[in-house]
């Protein structure tokens, strides 16, 4: 009860002091505002980036495994050169894998090349041409929007058919259905039998809708004779991914005739790798970013401390009088702490307001996400800044000898 | 041509709704080399007049001509230059820089007039010696007595060899013997041709001057030569 009265008394005095030196209070608050704005803006941007990444990476699927010669993330030139000298992964190996795996729902060999796709006088350049089998549709997140997917027979027989992505469909066929039309895919003419559902882009880099899927045999006849395959495997359930991975590894080693003790001459990739990679990169960026922006808040805090010291020195007589009429150390300490905290909290609130306005503008160019958590944290941080930077000056005031304080001119 | 000519000078201060007339209608002519005492009760406007004469303040109305030039037409830099070179101020309340020692306080006007460091020091030392403080040059104001502080202030006023010396109660804080010494100093300066104004409450002090101007409520009450026989 007593403490509450003291605090409300302290708040009153703090408010008077702030109003008495308007310019000074304004500048001090401005320092904190700048700090809070940069820190929260940074946090907001990191938050938004995180969200965007996780959304984007989910396209890969948490239950997917990807076998290829090279790992997605190669650490050195040497490792890269080494993996480039490995034997190719062939279609036969993919077939064999399909037969051997028990924990896989679908196994699709994939190989790609960029080509120009033409229909009458419309054309689309650098479209990704994917050679695959009927399993492809089961391993990708996309459904069929129109028509049907390639059948097992067509894949095996290398029929001149294709299934096109949404972007290709809209680019080539503005007003008519693509089904049954014959399009020129690089050097060859193929019949469109289906259109894939929209998938969006991966990490904002490559559109997944700008592709044409063709039977794998057709690909090997028409584009690349002995390509290096990537094999996509969908596990029967996401929680059995690890088992599936072990089985896959064993099967691949057997298929590629590796002796026990030989290192793997292939790599198994999965979504996790992206997430781990991203987390380490994003973690570093977040740490550096928050550190650098935190420095401006730190500078703001120093400004508060400095001004509070001045304030204490100027009010030495006032402190003396208060002490003489019975103010305790705690009362004085609280009075100055409250003053510093009020300024900081005020700065925090104004800063949050400015950040909010800025994020509205930033939303257009980058993913930002101003969560309640960030806002709460920002207010807490500004309060803490006030308390920490106000403590030393308040302590100096509280410890003053009343007799000497009163003698002060 | 007189050195100083004041014509219908007014100076008023506005404090909220109230207007205080510190000087109402003052006209004066002072020749080069005169020694003038200004007397009057407290609050009558003596310091205000001194501030005007010293180009520290500008009149609310009226014309102040110094050496034939209208002071109101001068810009801030010219005023500063006049204060620096032509006017030596001895304030009622000393007004020394508290953190600087006597030597630096006296050097200050020379710094603003661009005297070389060596010459500056020598001139400051001479001025301090001439007021009898040659042995106190490294003392700070709070390490000196009131009379010593006053003498530092006088040394500072003299150091740049100004032609006009304005002393606002130079002996107010001093015992009579020290006061006499300071008055003697001013007399010597007057004999060298300086124009001197002294504000004082004491008839004793005023008798050193050759002309006494009495002020009451912002008006000149009387202006006459010092009665002979002092």
């Amino acid at each position: 009860m007593y403490l509450i009265r003291e605090i409300s008394e302290g708040l009153g005095i703090a408010w008077d002091a702030i109003r008495a030196n308007k310019l000074r209070s304004f500048l001090t608050t401005l320092g904190i505002v700048i700090g809070i704005v940069t820190v929260t803006l940074m946090a907001t941007a990191i938050n938004g980036l995180n969200g965007a990444f996780h959304k984007s990476v989910s396209v890969i699927g948490a239950d997917m495994l990807f076998v290829s010669r090279t790992s997605w993330f190669v650490n050195s030139q040497a490792e890269w050169l080494k993996s480039m000298r490995r034997r190719e992964i062939t279609l036969a190996q993919a077939r064999q894998l399909q037969r051997e795996l028990t924990l896989a729902q679908a196994v699709a060999p994939m190989v790609g090349i960029n080509q120009t796709v033409t229909y009458q006088n419309h054309s689309s350049s650098s479209v990704q041409i994917v050679g695959s089998t009927e399993e492809f549709i089961n391993t990708s997140g996309a459904g069929i929007a129109e028509g049907r997917f390639i059948s097992a027979g067509e894949a095996e027989g290398g029929r001149p058919v294709c299934v096109i992505g949404m972007d290709v469909a809209t680019n080539l066929f503005a007003f008519e259905s693509p089904l049954g039309k014959r399009i020129k895919v690089g050097p060859r003419v193929l019949e469109v039998i289906g259109v894939l559902g929209r998938q969006g882009s991966f990490l904002g880099l490559a559109s997944l809708d700008n592709q044409v899927v063709i039977p794998v045999q057709q690909f090997m006849i028409g584009y690349l004779r002995n390509p290096d395959f990537m094999i996509k495997i969908k596990a029967i359930a996401p929680d059995q991914l690890e088992e599936a991975k072990e089985e896959l590894r064993g099967a691949m080693r057997k298929i590629r005739h590796l002796a026990p003790g030989d290192p793997d001459d292939f790599a198994i990739n999965q979504q996790d790798m992206f997430v781990t990679m991203f987390n380490s990169v994003a973690g570093t960026i977040a740490a550096v970013g928050l550190l650098i922006t935190g420095l401006s808040l730190f500078v703001g805090g120093i400004g508060i401390m400095n001004i509070m010291f001045v304030s204490v020195a100027e009010r030495t007589r006032e402190i003396g009088v208060r002490k003489a009429i019975g103010a305790k150390r705690r009362t004085i300490l609280l009075q100055f702490l409250i003053e510093a905290a009020t300024i900081c909290l005020l700065g925090g609130l104004v800063g949050l307001g400015i950040t909010w306005v800025l994020t509205l503008g930033l939303k257009r160019v980058m993913p930002v996400n101003m969560s309640l958590g960030v806002m709460g944290l920002a207010l807490l941080v500004s309060l803490l800044t006030g308390v920490i930077s106000g403590f030393l000056p308040a302590w100096r005031a509280a410890r003053m000898n009343p007799v000497e304080a009163l003698r002060n001119e | 041509m007189s050195l100083i000519r004041l014509q219908n000078i007014r100076r008023q201060y506005t404090m909220g709704a109230e207007t205080i007339h510190a000087l109402r209608d003052v006209s004066l002519e002072i020749e080069r080399g005169e020694y003038v005492a200004i007397m009057g009760p407290s609050g009558s406007g003596k310091s205000t007049l001194m501030n005007l004469l010293g180009c520290l303040d500008t009149p609310s109305a009226g014309v102040y001509e110094l050496n034939g030039q209208n002071v109101s037409e001068m810009d801030d830099n010219q005023l500063a230059e006049i204060r620096n070179r032509e006017i030596g101020f001895v304030f009622q309340t000393f007004n020394l820089l508290p953190r600087s020692n006597a030597l630096r306080n006296v050097e200050l006007p020379l710094i603003y007039s661009g005297v070389d460091a060596d010459e500056r020091k020598q001139m400051a030392l001479d001025a301090l010696t001439s007021v009898g403080l040659g042995d106190r040059i490294h003392h700070k104001p709070n390490e000196m007595s009131g009379g010593q502080r006053q003498r530092v202030a006088i040394a500072r006023a003299l150091v740049n060899r100004p032609s006009i010396i304005l002393a606002d109660e130079p002996t107010g804080n001093l015992d009579s013997r020290t006061g006499e010494e300071i008055m003697a100093l001013l007399k010597a300066l007057s004999q060298k041709g300086n124009t001197i104004f002294v504000v004082t409450h004491e008839e004793e002090v005023a008798r050193h001057a050759r002309r006494i101007i009495r002020i009451r409520d912002g008006l000149i009450a009387s202006d006459e030569p010092t009665p002979p026989g002092s």
């Binding site: 000074r24 500048l27 001090t28 320092g31 700048i34 940069t38 997605w72 030139q77 040497a78 050169l81 000298r85 790609g112 990704q128 991966f202 990490l203 880099l205 490559a206 650098i292 922006t293 420095l295 401006s296 730190f298 500078v299 703001g300 400004g303 401390m305 400095n306 001045v310 | 080069r32 010293g54 520290l56 303040d57 110094l66 030039q69 001068m74 830099n77 500063a80 006049i82 204060r83 620096n84 070179r85 032509e86 101020f89 304030f91 007004n95 820089l97 600087s100 200050l108 710094i111 603003y112 007039s113 661009g114 460091a117 001479d126 001439s130 060899r161 032609s163 060298k192 041709g193 300086n194």
Partner: protein, 435 residues
């Protein structure tokens, strides 16, 4: 004291140029001492104020030091390429894209030895053409020692020596017949010589790499500044030998071309590009299906990429300086209020407005410069500690040091001006009456 009456009156008196310069000097010196005195008089306050600037400058300098150290490393790695040499390969030298972007390069046909040899024959403008394939890792031993495991075996042609700017210390370079006949000979880089033949000349001696014996025919000079790096840990053998024994004849290689002069550089590049496009049947109008780059082009790519990072970091760090500047302004305003009486005295004694202004701006700049200097020192130390942790050699980014200090002065001037203006425009009489 002289006769004052004889002295000309100050009003209307012209001042000579020499005198005004002296006045200016004296005023400046006075301002400096006053500012310094004020800083010393309020030690805690000054310390806290300059700490703000310190932090702001620190954050710029620490990042720039670390980045400069990285850049130096890259530059010295690339410095082995002369400015007239360019490389051709399937993969780009630097590639800042997501993993998705790699697909484009992966799908390209390999650049093969026959193509390299064709360039060698047909590139009439080139002064030298080298074909290279690298085989990292492996064990090389001699009678006397063992090479470090991070060594690289490089298959090369005689032209590589000129193109790569390799200088012989001892023996001779590879010869055409050795490439044609795939002989088992090798030239050692200086780093390997130290390990394998610490005593005498290795020329004519034998070394064994992964079970195959090579005769040493030459040794290279050590590469300039970067001692101790793994730059000098390689052995050169004929490219045919390398592909036969450790790879296959269709595998991907790199071509290094030396243009005869800077003037003919572009022409040479164009000729090589044309030869390869024909060989690799690139349709007219289509993009190259190989990469041509030089040390310079890599550097400029890296610089272009890091430029954005540098600008971003400078901007963010400058925000801390902004906060520091506001702190300075605030404290200077306090200082002006506290010293009102002093200002009044100075004005009464003849200080001009600009004297007062100079004094306070000087004070602000001094605070900033002091903070800035400390920030630079701490920043360089911390940045180099970070560089040390990344195994980079120490650097001092002088340009950023000067820029940082310049920005500091700017902050001082910008944020000191308002308080100084306020001080200069105080009414002298009011200031003298101020309690």
């Amino acid at each position: 004291m002289s006769e004052p009456a004889d002295k000309p009156f100050a009003v209307g008196r012209g001042s000579s140029r020499a005198r005004s310069w002296r006045v200016f000097q004296a005023e400046l010196a006075e301002s400096f001492f006053m500012a310094f005195g004020a800083l010393v008089a309020h030690k805690l306050r000054s310390a806290l104020t300059l700490l703000g600037v310190l932090v702001g400058v620190f954050s710029i300098i620490v990042v720039m030091t670390a980045m400069r150290a990285m850049q130096h490393q890259i530059e010295s790695d690339l410095s082995s390429l002369s400015s007239q040499t360019f490389m051709v390969q399937k993969w780009p030298a630097v590639h800042f894209g997501g993993p998705g972007g790699e697909e484009k390069y992966r799908r390209r046909k390999d650049l093969t030895l026959p193509q390299g040899l064709a360039v060698m024959r047909k590139a009439t403008l080139a002064q030298a053409v080298g074909v290279e394939a690298q085989f990292p890792g492996g064990e090389m031993i001699s009678q006397y020692g063992k090479a470090p495991p991070n060594m690289t075996l490089q298959g090369e042609t005689p032209g590589s020596f000129a193109a790569q700017n390799w200088v012989l210390q001892d023996g001779r370079i590879l010869q055409d017949v050795e490439v044609e006949g795939a002989h088992d000979v090798c030239v050692l880089a200086a780093g390997l010589r130290k390990e394998l033949f610490p005593f005498g000349s290795p020329v004519g001696e034998k070394v064994k790499f992964n079970g195959i014996t090579f005769t040493v025919v030459g040794v290279l000079e050590p590469k300039g500044a970067m001692e101790g790096g793994n730059q000098d840990n390689f052995a050169i053998i004929p490219i045919t030998t390398a592909l036969n024994r450790y790879g296959n004849l269709q595998q991907n290689i790199t071509i290094a071309v030396l243009a005869p002069s800077r003037d003919q550089y572009e022409e040479t590049v164009d000729q090589v590009r044309g030869i390869l496009r024909t060989l690799r049947k690139v349709e007219p109008g289509a993009d190259d299906d190989f990469e041509i780059f030089s040390g310079e082009s890599i550097l400029s790519q890296i610089n272009a990429f890091t430029w954005a990072v540098r600008i971003g970091i400078t901007a963010i760090s400058s925000i801390a300086l902004l906060a520091a500047g506001i702190g300075i302004m605030n404290i200077m305003l306090v200082s002006v209020t506290e010293r009102t009486r002093e200002i009044g005295i100075r004005r009464a004694i003849g200080a001009k407005k600009r004297n007062i202004m100079a004094q306070f701006i000087m004070e602000a700049v001094m605070l900033c410069e002091l903070g800035g200097l400390l920030g630079v020192v701490v920043g360089i130390i911390a940045g180099n500690l970070a560089a040390h942790a990344m195994h980079l050699s120490a650097v001092i980014p002088f340009d950023w040091v000067f820029l940082g200090l310049f920005i500091c002065s700017l902050v001082g001037v910008v944020f000191g001006t308002y308080p100084a203006y306020k001080a200069a425009n105080l009414d002298p009489i009011e200031s003298l009456r101020y309690e």
